[in-house]
Amino acid sequence: MTEYFGTTVADIFATMPKRFKPEEAKEVDIAIGYEATGEGGGKWKATIKHGTLKVETVDGDLTGCKTTIHTDAETFVGVTLGKIGALDALSSQKLRVAGDPKFLMLLLPKIFTPYAAPEKKPVAVTARDIITTIAERFRPEKAEGVAMTIGYDLTGEGGGRWTIVIRDGKCAVRGGLADPLTVKMTMEAKTYTGMMVGTIEAVTAFTSGMVKIEGDMAAAGATAKFFRKYVVPGATEAEELISLRVTNAIEQRFATGPVMGRWFAGLREKKFLANRCPKCGRTQIPPREICAWCRVRVHEFVEVGPKGVVTHFDIVYFASPDPLTGAVRDTPYATAYVVFDGSTEREAVTMDLKKEDIPRLKEGARVRPVWAEVTTGSYRDLIGVALDEQEESL
């Protein structure tokens, strides 16, 4: 039976006898015809006479009815439930009444208790139910090239330990926690259930410490997209909401101009060319046409470095995708703020630090540039910096 607003036209008529209030209908003598067109619709006749009610379906024409209500099935259910205003429906002609509508609108609420859609009993769902069936919801097209083992340690009632293995476009669930794991997530079973059913927002759970993550954090964040959403069995189909996903790629061409161009020309020769403000004397790196503080043009180029000092640094555990390539970097990686020898003291520039040097990185460390094998005059000429440890040992 076609459903509208969570119920059917037929159910409204089926419940009419139950909702009838005979004591209010003692003086009533009327036959009301109903025609609901469209899927799930039909024709019914309600005969009310001296406190009794007869409801019957009608196959042919609705005859012998003092008043007939004509509408489509959806509007009928909507008006009955109050989701659609009766007056609106009448004004828009979606609901037409042959006979006196006002009389009906006064009578019907008097002799019937209002109809309420039947409540769907919520199905009790456990974490075990959800996780042991997760392979059914696997989306191999989203997991191309992915190989990971994700451990779940779900504590409390309905919990347990499972490992999800994704490899070669397949997904399998095993009991227990495998070793090694790409990432392990520990949380209460009810937190897991809440996240999967949608009553707990995943980001909230992660951020507020309800979920403990050991291992690759990025993998933990990525798991959601490998699986279709869990739907509680027997749940009312939520209203379908349409969305479109698109990646818009716009080609761009960036002109360097003479100043930035000179900087890149310097890189090609493995040199750092800053430019010096004639007023405040600071060495802008990378060089810029104008000193923003003094608002004067800058013409004088000076070579700085090649070595420098790390004034601050960031160890990055969470990588954002590179908007130019979409690639996500390996973490952890370090970004060092370097003041090159010969620069004025504030003018730091950011540099990637060689991964192996990260454990020994300290503020004040000396670094040297690491150049690409072949330099062509682009930002890729400079791979980053590395600790200049020979100097430190002097």
């Binding site: 828009s92 349409i242 698109v246 990646t247 790629a249 716009i250 013409h299």
Partner: protein
């Protein structure tokens, strides 16, 4: 002081800006698209104050700001071509190869025209005022292209 005229180091870097985007039609937009997709019906929303029926749907009447979100009206799938243009250039983001007709169609029951592609008539012969009907797409995409095009009745 003049700009340095030294351009020997200038060059152009080819780049790209690629960002993912998700568009939500919303409750009303979804109903509109689903009616086209599943029931081959085109729905509008009517403002009873102004007596104006809008398509595509919007939550409020633009003139009097009455909320019209529940006042769905089924429109005809035919209407009058009230205006048109002929697209004569090609670009990869366009839905058709040129030349093709982009028309404004006032469907029966609507007060606002709907923009869509018109086919089945030579661009040199199309005129405003002709009656056209919707041809629904065989393969749907959850977009307005679930109506494939309009063609003369």
């Amino acid at each position: 002081m003049t700009m340095q005229e030294d351009h020997k180091d200038c060059f152009v870097l080819e780049g790209k800006m690629a960002l993912p985007n998700q568009y939500f039609a919303g409750r009303l937009g979804s109903r509109f698209l689903i009616a086209i997709r599943d029931r081959k019906k085109i729905m509008g929303l009517k403002c009873n104050q102004c007596g104006k029926t809008f398509v595509p749907p919007r939550e409020y009447c633009e003139k009097c700001w009455t909320k019209i979100a529940d006042n769905w009206v089924e429109l005809g799938t035919e209407g009058e071509l009230v205006n048109f243009t002929v697209v004569r250039y090609g670009d990869r983001h366009l839905p058709k190869k040129p030349p093709y007709i982009l028309g404004q169609i006032r469907l029966d029951g609507a007060d606002t025209p709907l923009v869509h592609i018109v086919e089945g008539i030579d661009p040199r012969e199309v005129e405003s005022g002709i009656r056209v009907k919707a041809v629904f797409a065989a393969k749907t995409t959850n977009t307005i292209m679930d109506i494939d095009h309009f063609e003369p009745v």
